[in-house]
Symmetry: D2
Subunit: 341 residues, 4 copies
């Protein structure tokens, strides 16, 4: 039984961590911090946890020592306080954006501020089990990728690694409203956000840099808010290298994912569900990836989908924890998703 | 051509007034105030008006003299500033809650604060054309009913006036998110509000008092937020007086509404659209009312639906203006609503 | 390990049974029938089960012998084929409407057709653990209540049994679109159903009869479709008996539910989540019940919420199976629901 | 006053035509055909028209002679019956896909069937006022482009004509559910379609061919269903020619659209509404177009949005009719759209 704490438990990623940890058979959820809600019941903020936990939020200052600490704090604040956080647990899993990019220059470029803990960057392992499982078994500083980045990397990396694509990749990313967090503002007001098709980042979204770093590809990404609370979908357009066909694509995905517990290949000839759709993934830790090649052309569409709060955040973090702690990888992550939903 | 101004033009009711006034052939929209957006283009806040108006918001202090002034300011502020507002136009149409209830005691009871301009209450005429048309022709102080109140009154008044019901009435009111206004907060955050079935007023909602005042009935009302941006629906349960049947109900509604331009009787035997549904009313000034009587029983369900921002607010106000100014009543209110939507 | 089969596995209740059974540690899912999809992979119809089961649908005629058989077939067909079904397993759990009502007269009245297996009616035990747990331990014929009926019964029965209410009860039931099943028609076409507030049963809904039978109360129920795929909410208006106050209501609910694993009392003074809302219950087996009493009045509002496919159907059935088979009651039903969702 | 009829009035495009024609001051709506609903009131099928028209659907065989005939019939059937249709009116405006593509080979390629009235293809003028206004003044056979095609063409044509882009263009098109019509099936069942992000055409969508034909560009298009009833949005990625910057893009759009009544340029630096979003366009005849250029790069994102049933269909057809008949172009098309919605 591991003693675990969560920093920033009142947000949406934090709440999802709490949901998964409360139901995890090998975890004792020892603390969750929230400045705004310190002293209040966790289940008062996350009503799905009523009857499942009596825990109350505490002030960050009240943190003690734990086997493992999850960080769901804002970027900038996270890098500033990282030295302090590292004192509370041997293993730290960070879900902010601050330790995802290896290069402080790229960070400054995409985040618009200088990195304030650049010396720590190299010590973090990417919390993406599919491509860093061996490192994660012993990693004590883990940085979980962004939600759209995770979808993009899981969709692009197999074909990039196999050398199947050439030239630039364009990514059309769509996301639900929970991706912008639990703080109310004009942009996520229901009457404004409901039914929106809002291109909120025509280019230079931060997750673009993560995709490029992880795949070695030149990526051009746009991000749109769509009508959903949860869910991310990426549509990636690639040009296939000479002689690459659909069969080669499928083989590359199989090579990467046939033993993966949480990546499914979804690419069928017909049917309503022939391609990945986040609609059926809410609450699950699956990332579905698929592809379609235009007959007689070198153009392929690669599609990925996941729940931004689970495989795109908290679920991925718990999967990384399971690996780090030598637990069965699927523990606490068994929920399959709903159909219909 | 009338010169008209709107106080509080950046909110949702204010924005809807602007939409209707910009398209009104007999109105010159001379000013719209907004403290937060003074100096900015109206169409920057209400993007549906792009290309339709070059007007910019002004400070309230910049108001001049107009033929008619619409007030879409918050309650409390409205009653405090009413003497000032009355100086800007001969005719004032108020959409706040402050001048809807005749009795300052009832106001204090339902609003939780004392009325601060009780001496003015008697000078206001209800802005409900269906039951106050003659008074409205000469009224210079008009108070438009609340959105759920309008639906409830239009649904209940015909049967109340005809003496067809006895005992208490219960009203189950459902509303979209725009009813809570354009100010962001935890309750209307998209991720929280989307898909909600939120009983936000189990009893004692302010609109209950309006329904009681207008119909003379004892009304018990609950209010729920449902997944919609626009739309109000009321389900009213009544006990019919001895000998009253469905035919009598229909006759009462016909008597009240057969010549009304904006009330339709919707009560059919079958079909998807047999009863009023706000889904098809977005943007239109219709209030649809219907009914169903349980065979062999004295229990009837009366149903009303409207767009809370149009017939439940701005549209009703424009209809009242048309009456007051001797214009054709439907002017600027021709939009029929969409199907599907 | 129990060998279990599902009749009617391609529908929404059937699919939800399959989801729960695939994840159930003490169940071997041996067969699922579907006339339309016989021979096709279960995961092709219910894409959330991809990677979780290799099972294919079979023809009903291919059914063998099982420890337990779930029936998710249409009403009428179920009563006709019940003798046949009873031959396939010692224990049968039926989710159709055919064996819920004890009286064939009431059945004929509400279903509009005569009951064709009236002699079997008495042999069925209601699949509602909260009020029939002891009987369920040995029951071999179990009939699970309807979705809105379950919400209504769980909300009303504690106060009815404690004698806290008098007179008639009115129930305003709201339901998502999955309640009408997986067969496409004009009424559940997305463009028509999306955003609808459709009063589809102004009175005499079949679940009304179930509520009346289970609580002994006179119930008047309306049913409305609201914008949601999953979810049922009931608003029940009751008149409290002399001297009954909010404290007495709370005590009655506590008496009934304090040891129940899947009923939570949700009745708080304030907050977005002060009353039950199905929004946070999708996929979970919880039924949340709450109440509000108007100060100084005998009128109370009782509110219940659940996921129609889980606690309102398949989850309830699995809970009944667990009880019948001596398993821990929560087995396979641990999912807490999501926030936000 | 023109006497006008609509073939296929029970579908969604047909219904939208009826809405616009009923409200058009210079049109007498003389007939609307529907095989399924012949004899039934138009307002029974399109409930938004209650109180606005007493017209009943008639059999196609009952068609007489009109000044102008709108065709909202399925493709294939339209080309087969076109000779017959041409006998009912001097001017015919077709909204099917059959007469949009000039080349019978391209038609066969994209529609999968041979064209059956290829000799008529040349006689049709594209019903896109922005680029065919002069021809439309005298055209008697008009073919209105597809909904996604209209958005794509209006977004791409100005920059293509000005020679500002080079190489292939990729188009990510998103559409609401009304685009698939009023016939119920598994794909548009509410429980399946609600909240979906469904890539239903990874490539080779028919509207791709229309965009290519109208712009001369090589277009690669994907089409996704998103959660909405109405609305189309296209995201077009282009490579700018040497020396082309944002200013040049804006100039090209201004040149094309500054005098257009129904195209607005929406490309701002910031704000929730900085780019085109169909959310605020429901019911309106606007197509909003915008753009964003990545600083220091030749990559631009061009964005278009419209209501698929209005500017993407019926509204465009009415605008073409106004032009053809010498009427003010905006007649009957004044509705601005709603905010919020």
């Amino acid at each position: 039984m591991m003693r675990v704490a969560v920093v920033g438990g009142a947000g949406y990623i934090g709440g999802e961590l709490l949901r998964l940890l409360v139901g995890h058979p090998e975890v004792e959820l020892a603390a969750a911090t929230s400045r705004s809600f310190a002293g209040r019941a966790v289940a008062g903020v996350h009503p799905n946890l009523r009857g499942r936990t009596e825990l109350r939020f505490c002030e960050p200052a009240a943190l003690g020592e734990y086997d493992l600490l999850f960080l769901a704090a804002p970027h900038r604040e996270t890098m500033r306080r990282m030295p302090e956080f590292l004192g509370h647990a041997k293993t730290v899993i960070d879900l902010s954006g601050d330790f995802r990019l290896r290069s402080p220059e790229v960070y400054a470029d995409y985040y618009g501020v200088p990195h304030e803990a650049a010396d720590l960057l190299d010590s973090f392992t990417p919390g993406l089990p599919e491509f860093h499982r061996e490192e994660l078994r012993t990693a004590d500083r883990i940085s979980v990728p962004g939600c759209m980045a995770t979808a993009g990397i899981l969709t692009l990396a197999p074909v990039a690694r196999a050398g199947l694509v050439e030239g630039e990749v364009t990514v059309d990313a769509r996301t639900g409203s929970s991706g912008s967090g639990a703080t109310a503002g004009p942009g996520n007001l229901h009457a404004e956000r409901s039914g929106a098709l809002r291109v909120f980042a025509p280019n230079r979204h931060r997750h673009e840099a993560e995709m490029a770093q992880a795949t070695g590809l030149t990526v051009r990404m746009t991000a749109s808010g769509v009508e959903a609370v949860r869910g991310v979908q990426v549509l990636c357009r690639v040009r296939l290298a000479d002689g690459v066909d659909e069969r080669a694509l499928r083989a590359a995905y199989r090579t990467s994912y046939q033993h993966e517990p949480f990546v499914r290949i979804v690419a069928e000839r017909r049917g309503l569900h022939r391609f990945p759709d986040p609609k059926i993934l809410s609450g699950s830790n699956f990332c579905d990836v698929g592809f379609s090649v235009e007959t007689g052309s070198p153009h392929a569409l690669l599609i990925g989908a996941l729940d931004n709060l689970v495989k795109g955040g908290a679920g991925n973090a718990v999967q990384a924890m399971n690996i780090r702690c030598g637990l069965p990888e699927h523990l606490g992550l068994e929920f399959t998703g709903l159909h219909p939903n």
